[in-house]
Each structure stands twice: as C-alpha cells, then as structure tokens.
C-alpha cells in the first residue's frame, strides 16, 4: 500500500470512529436544573420559588443595620422630647429641682454639651403671692438652680444665662393653687 492509500484508510477509520460517537444514544440521568429569579429586597415581583419560607421572606435575606441613621433618629426623638419639656415646676417657696424634671434637664445638657455654639436662657418665675422683689429673687434662685444643674452636667457657663421675672409674667391667671402651681416655674429658652 502506498502513502496515499494509508491516509485514506486512516481518514476513513477516523470518520468511522467519530461517526460512531455521535450516533450512539446516551441516557441522561442528571438532576433537573432549577430556574432561579433573584429576590429583590422588597420581595416585589419575586416568583414564589421552591425552598422559600411560607411568609415569603427569602432565606438569604440580610437586613442592614445603619448605626449612623439609628443614632440620628434617636437623637431627633430625644431632642423633640426635650424640646417639649422646657418648663421645670417648683413647690411653694422652693427652688429644689424635683426628680421628675431631672431627665428633661439631662436632655438639655446633652444637647448643649454636644453643640458648644448653642445657648439658652433660663427664666425663673413665681406665683403671685407675696411681694414683687422677694419673688424676683426667688425666681432668680430657681433659674440659677437649673443653670447649676446644667453646668454640673458639662454645659459651659457662657452657654447659659439665668434671669427672673418674679411674679410679673404669670403663665396662668387665677387665684387658686391650680394657677399658682403653673406659675412656679423655670422656662428654658433658646437664645
């Protein structure tokens, strides 16, 4: 057999071998392939897919915890609460700060300590009973008591001014204990 004949035979054999591979039928026994659609954070448009929980929350969900946002929200809520609590009330002839007002003072102290440019004015008042001058001094003592509490909690002296209106600027008109109790107060105002 010469060279040309051998190539023909080899080619024929190769072709026969290749033809034999492609024509042999194979039985496919692999697992079924699942079709998955990515689940969005809100779950909208997600196709119910096998393996998901009954409530619809995907298994691999990750919820983000943003500490910066949390702090900002809590601070805003606290500031709102503190802003609402701008009046400290006192018993007759007294300038002691009662326990129920300490959280409000704490709140103001935090706001002022965290922002040194912020300033407040504390205005002390009394009820209508008694002379104008003694009540002016008593109102001043009430304002100074609140100022002192703030300073003990870290607020700078320059941020706070304590003044008094004595009995000259009542919040409630009336000549009974109900009105008097509303007038014995110190008000915290932004300056």
């Amino acid at each position: 057999m010469n060279f040309d004949t051998r190539i023909l035979v080899l080619s024929a054999l190769a072709a026969a071998a290749l033809a034999g591979c492609s024509s042999t039928p194979l039985t496919d026994t692999s697992a079924p392939v699942e079709t998955r659609t990515p689940v969005t954070a809100s779950g909208a448009g997600a196709t119910q897919s096998p393996g998901a929980t009954a409530s619809g929350t995907p298994q691999s969900r990750v919820t983000t915890v943003d500490l910066a946002a949390q702090n900002a929200a809590a601070a805003a809520a606290a500031a709102a609460a503190v802003s609402a609590q701008r009046v400290v009330y006192f018993d007759f002839d007294s300038f002691s700060i009662k326990d129920e007002f300490k959280p409000a003072i704490d709140g103001h102290a935090k706001l002022l300590s965290s922002n040194r440019t912020k300033r407040i004015k504390i205005e002390g008042h009394t009820d209508e009973r008694g002379g104008s001058e003694y009540n002016l001094a008593l109102g001043q003592k009430r304002a100074e008591a609140v100022a002192k509490s703030l300073e003990l909690l870290g607020v700078a002296d320059q941020q706070v001014e304590a003044v008094s209106f004595g009995k000259e600027r009542p919040a409630a008109v009336g000549h009974d204990e109900d009105a008097w109790a509303k007038n014995r107060r110190a008000e915290l105002k932004d300056r």
């Binding site: 002839d93 009973r129 008694g130 002379g131 104008s132 001058e133 003694y134 002016l136 001094a137 008593l138 109102g139 001043q140 003592k141 100074e144 001014e161 304590a162 003044v163 008094s164 209106f165 004595g166 000259e168 600027r169």
Partner: protein, 423 residues
Amino acid sequence: MWPRRRFITALASAAALPAAAQFRIEVSGVGATQIPLVVATFRDEDKARTPIAAIVRADLQRSGLFRPAETPLALDERSTIVTTEWRERGADALVAGSLTRLADGRFDIRFKLWDAVKGEQLISQGARVVVDGDLRLAAHRIADEVHEKLTGERGVYATRIAYVVKNGRRYSLHITDADGEGGQVALASPEPIISPAWSPSGMQIAYVSFEMQKAVVWVQDLLSGERRVLANFRGSNSAPAWSPDGRQLALTLSRDGISQLYVMPAAGGGNPRRLTTSNAIDTEAVYSPDGATIYFVSDRGGGPQIYKVPAAGGNAERVSFNGAYNISPAISPDGKLLAYITRQGNAFKLMLQELDGGAVRALSDTQDDESPSFAPNGRLLVYATRQQGRDVLMTTTLDGKIKTRLLTSGADMREPAWGPFVA
C-alpha cells in the same frame, strides 16, 4: 349741729369730692375730733380755670381731720371778720382769699386764716405768685399751711405719689398729686415696671424695667424724661433705694450667683460695693432717715425676715420677730417706726412696728396688702391691696382709723411710692 343760716353752706355730700373721671377717692372713717371750718370761694378765682377754694376744702376733708364748709358771702383777705360771729355759727376757723391776674399772665394769690376759737389771725400774709400751670399746686400748699396751723403737723397735700398701672399688657409709671389729680405718665412700656423710688429731691425716680427681658434698674429725670441704665449686671438688678443725701443707691444684684445687697453711686459707673455676704436672698433695702443704717429683707434664717446693717458695712441684726414671713420694709421719716408686710396663712397684711420696743399692730382689714410707703410727714401710709378683684391703692393714718381708697377704672394699680416734700 350746723345752724341753718345763710352764712354757711355745708357741703352737699361729704363724700362728693372733686374727682377726675379716672381717679376716685373714697374716705372711710373720721378723726376723733373734726375741726369745722369755712373756706370761702377766693375772689376772682373764676378768672382762672382752677377752683382754688374747692381744692383746699377737698384736701382738708380727705384728711378726715376737718369738716370744711362753703359760704355764700363774698369774702377775701381784706374783709373785716368778726371771729366771734363765726364761732357762734359753729366754725372754728375761716379761710378767705383772692386771685389776681398780673400783666405777665401769672397769678397773685393772697389769703388769710382766722382762728375763731382764739380770735386771731393765724396766717395774715399768705401770698404767692404762680403761673397758670401751678395753680393746683398753690391750692395744695394753702391747704398744707392751714392744716399745719390748725393741727400742728405738716400737711402732705402738695406732695406727689408714684405708682404703676397695669392695663392688660401695658404698664405705665404714673405720677399724681396726693389727691389723685394731675396724673402724668413718666414711662409707658409693654413690659413690667416695678419698685419706683423717688430721689430725695423729688426730681428723679429710679425703677426696675423688664424692657430688656430681664430686671434692669433705670434712673429717670421727671422734668426732662431723660433716662439712663444704672445697673444691668448679669442676672437680675432690682430694689433701688436712694440714700438720704441722694448720692448713692442701695440695690439688689444677683451678679455673684445669688441676690445680695450692693451700693452704687447715684451718678452711675464704678464697681458696686457689696454690702451683704450671705448664702441667702438679701433684698428690699431701705435707708434710715439719717443714712447710717440700711434695713432689708433676708431669708438667711429660713423664711424672709427684716434685718438691719450699718450702711458702711458690718454685721446684720434681725429686726422682725412676729411671724415666719416678713417683707417690704418702710421706715418712717422720724426713724422710729417700721411698716412692713407679714404673711399669715394665705393673707398678706400691713403691719406697723415700733423699732424701740418692738410692739406690732395690724393696720388693715384686707388680705392682699403690698408695698407700704410713708408720707413725708410720717402721719400716713400708702399701700397697694386687692378689693373686689381689683388692685387698688389705699392710704391709712397710723392708727388705722381713717382710710382713703384710690382707684382708677379698668386698670390695676400697684407699687405706690410717696414722694418727698418739695420746696
């Protein structure tokens, strides 16, 4: 008692005093003895717009010490008066005078006072020349002179009273004659005014104003209206009190963290001299008439009480011992009496204490008394109180028996201060 003769006309109604629409005076109580006297209409007083004789009668009646009457007879200071005739008609004294308008527009006022009991002229050459605007003052001075001659005590009809009126959210500092007439506003403000204090000359007034949203002490010249800040230190500045020589004021300042007494020059400036050093409220200073002592309120012992301290500095000594709450001291011009306000339960009452001996008595029937101030003759007190829901001013004699009530329609009156004698 009064003979119905044509010589004397009793006043139609004892309580019908000439009153401005705004300021009414009601007198309650009378003196143990009232001196009946006749004040004749001054000749030609109708040429001016000021009823001289009526003002004199009203002043004398308001004191509770006199029963003044008119006469239809035309009398003046040159009339021949037979005092026994007047005595028979029930008058102990007679006043007659005249008003003459001069070429320059001023008025020449002359008068005489006859004592019908002694049968002599007590004032024989009463005379003064005044401008039209001072005719009321001239009438008050005549009443003062008559009062002094017949009672031995100086009258205060020619003095003035300062007080604060609150009308809704408007406050004004008023100066009126002691009879409530001639009211003028020294200061009108949308913020409170408290603690007016007359300078000894009567020309200036110190007070506390809240126009800067805090208590600041101002001094104002009444004639010109010029005003200046005397004290605006940190915190509250209040309770101004003039020294008797007019050179200094004692004040309450909270600049060192708590209300304490300080002394400053009336001209202002300089550093205030601290007078008290307690850890308590010290306030409401008033000088004694000799300027050597300052009385004040302190709660260093618990509740507010009245103390005294040498004006030059030194130890404080307690002065009030009745009750647990005593404030607002006022010292009489002779230095012997202390008027103040005491709290009894829910009531605030005017009290008078003898500084030598300590005897104390109540002077009022009301429950909300404030701010007593002595008249410069030491015979009367003016104070603020509350009646029928209104803040009013009252005067009282020191025995509490004769009172006048001063009230103005629609507004609350408070913080009275009786002005000094002026020449």
